[in-house]
């Protein structure tokens, strides 16, 4: 193998390694941030969304601070309180925050495995499920409160 080919091979391998490390790091960030899940069943339509929460992190990071402040002005005095409450929610063991049953209908809000889960069933069938990673939501609100 010529000297030039050897350098080219080294550069290619180096580039591949960088890409692999970057992909693993990105996967780790996405995994750590968790996913926002929404499942909706309505009139024969099934909608399933699993949005990596890291995308929201990214959007918050690039969004203009002035626009964020304007959007959250009215809630601003309460944001530190929300962050504190959210931190405490993360700390306590899993529990059902709200459960409303009426015949075969159900509304359930619970903390389960580090997530806030909202579930709405109608006539015994699942209609809506939303799952939010608690630590990620806390980080979003903290970003808005900063």
């Amino acid at each position: 193998m010529s000297r030039g080919s050897r350098w080219l091979l080294i550069l290619l391998l180096g580039g591949f390694c960088l890409l692999a490390v970057g992909a693993v790091a990105a996967a780790a960030v996405v995994y750590h941030a968790g996913t926002v899940q929404v499942d909706l069943r309505e009139s024969g339509t099934d909608l399933h969304v699993a949005l990596p929460a890291a995308l929201v992190d990214l959007a918050l990071a690039v969004a203009p601070t002035a626009a964020l402040r304007s959007a959250t002005r009215e809630a601003e005095p309460y944001l530190p309180a929300i962050v504190a409450a959210w931190e405490e929610l993360e700390r306590v063991p899993d529990f059902v925050l709200l459960e409303v049953r009426s015949g075969a209908d159900l509304v359930l809000v619970e903390k389960r495995a580090g997530r806030l889960v909202v579930r709405v069933d109608e006539d015994g069938a699942s209609r809506l499920r939303v799952g939010l990673p608690l630590h990620t939501v806390r980080r979003w609100v903290a970003r808005l409160a900063a």
Binding site: A84, E88, P93, V96, S102
Partner: protein, 186 residues
């Protein structure tokens, strides 16, 4: 090498701190159970520590540092703290007793609790039971007129365990509010 006989002890030692944390947690529960026909029920479970964590951080016109300010023009001139001190020092007694054809009402102090009982007469009549520790009421009142210290009252409430604070039976429905160390699973 740790012998097999030590394994349960080691596991117990590892789990004990978790148990202590769990036991220290206090939960506010609200239950509304409808009559058998409706099959409706509402259940709310809230860790008191969550409420304690955000109360001091809310600051607005009427709410600051865990204290709420109310417009109490109607009772201006009345020092709630003095009134409650008098109530605290009074011996156990029935303060109000009303017996009418429609209902009976009883307000009393018993064993450090303020009790309010309302019973509507007739079959299926409403029954209301309120049982509030005087310590909580005392903690609620500050020297500032019209100000209530929710944070301090909550600290006192957190010492309660199990018994109903409020119980209302009305038209086959039952409403209960209580505090204990269970997260609501049981």
């Amino acid at each position: 090498m740790i012998g097999k006989k030590w394994i349960p002890a080691v596991l117990l030692a590892l789990l004990l701190p978790l148990q202590l944390v769990s036991a220290a947690e206090r939960w506010l529960h609200v239950r509304v159970v409808g009559d058998a026909e409706d099959g409706e029920s509402v259940s709310v479970n809230l860790p008191l520590s969550v409420i304690e964590s955000f109360l001091p951080l809310i600051h607005d016109e009427h709410f600051r540092d865990g204290k709420i300010r109310m417009d109490l023009d109607d009772i201006e001139g009345v020092q709630l703290s003095e009134l409650l001190a008098a109530l605290r020092d009074a011996p156990d007694a029935v303060f109000v007793k009303v017996n009418s054809p429609d209902e009976s009402v009883r307000v009393a102090k018993e064993d450090g609790f303020m009790l309010v009982h309302v019973d509507e007469r007739g079959e299926g009549g409403d029954k209301v039971r309120v049982r509030v520790p005087l310590q909580v009421v005392e903690a609620l009142v500050t020297d500032e007129p019209g100000e209530l210290d929710l944070r301090k009252a909550l600290e006192r409430l957190a010492k309660l365990d199990g018994e109903d604070l409020v119980r209302i039976e009305s038209d086959g429905e039952l409403v209960r509010i209580w505090i204990d160390h269970s997260n609501g699973d049981s």
